[in-house]
Subunit: 153 residues, 3 copies
């Protein structure tokens, strides 16, 4: 089953494609690769999930923020490509967690995005390479920021 | 108007191309992409803009550091390509801000680089994808570090 | 001399290819590029080099962690490609140091990986672009995390 059909069937709701917070494009296509800017956890009402993971937000809250960030990335992709069915595979994900210095479960947080992609694009095409890390601070104190590269047709 | 003509007309001064601080190349070309290593805010006299944004350096100082880092990136590009007129577009910018944990305006800092690129290469070709974030520490306590990918001809 | 012959001659021991710590692939090939996920300093017995550089771990310990991370990256590459002789060149390295806020020698730490690559692939092909930075926290409190892109044949 293709990505758009899966999203329909599972009633996955994408937020509106986020507007840039600075001088950049959310998405740029070069040859067969779609580069996506760092996205945050934008909700359907436009609000952002905020707070540091390890103090203000726990692991589950971080996971939800990563999943919401994944939904925002999909929204930008659909808006730019016309359809998510043009995605061939996830190539690369950079997962940034707004983290206390003693929080160490960044992979489990970023899985919130990666498991969404695996669900939508499949266990092979939806799983790419990834780095997950804890950063000192994120724009607007969002809990998670994720950038990604997709192969497209 | 092309990039070199704009730089001449606006009297934009590029610092000397920075020498690597470790075992890496400042620039590497693969196919139609120019990969640039993380650069810092190198001034024309070779000094670096230092200090943490949010405490030692304010937003304006961070913006100036990001612009100076952009000038260093352009210097490396011109040195490696022969001319900035070979740049087709900015593809991707990773903007790292040496940030206190409670500073949240990283996009406004990194705009210092992005607005320079937009000025030099134009509002379409000069604006690519981007991530901006706050990191715990940077080499030599520089205020900003930026790496980038450009499409070239 | 090619990479596999150098590794044999220098008796360089690669750890077993690390298993992913989350929902991602260690390696993905798109066209002529091999993307590698963020790797940590996995030792041959499967243990990881842990601790923050600048407090729990000193510069030399950070360097050794970066070299061990480089060995883990090579192990994943060999496992995925069949032979390291398929590597054409190092394109890009992102070197993340688990760093105190006042540690500033991240390039010297990440050289532990870069000098290994230069030894194995040569001073030209083994040296690519790079960014090095200090991050607030890393998964499992490892000392270093490195992701990379290689050009392959």
């Amino acid at each position: 089953m293709n990505a758009e059909a899966i999203i329909s069937q599972l009633n996955i709701e994408l937020p509106p494609p986020p507007t840039p917070a600075g001088v950049y494009k959310p998405l740029l296509i070069v040859d067969n690769l779609a580069y996506l800017s760092g996205h945050g956890p934008v909700c359907s009402d436009g609000s952002m999930l905020q707070g540091r993971v390890g103090s203000e937000v726990d692991l589950d809250g971080g996971y939800r923020a990563a999943r919401q960030t994944g939904l925002a990335l999909l929204s930008t992709l659909r808006h730019g490509l016309g359809s998510l069915d043009r995605v061939v595979r996830v190539v690369k994900v950079l997962g940034l967690v707004n983290s206390t210095p003693d929080f160490h479960r960044h992979p489990a947080v970023i899985n919130g995005c990666s498991e969404l992609f695996a669900q939508v694009f499949g266990q092979d095409a939806g799983v790419g390479t990834r780095s997950a890390l804890g950063v000192a601070a994120l724009p607007g104190n969002i809990s998670v920021e994720i950038e990604a590269i997709f192969e497209i047709s």
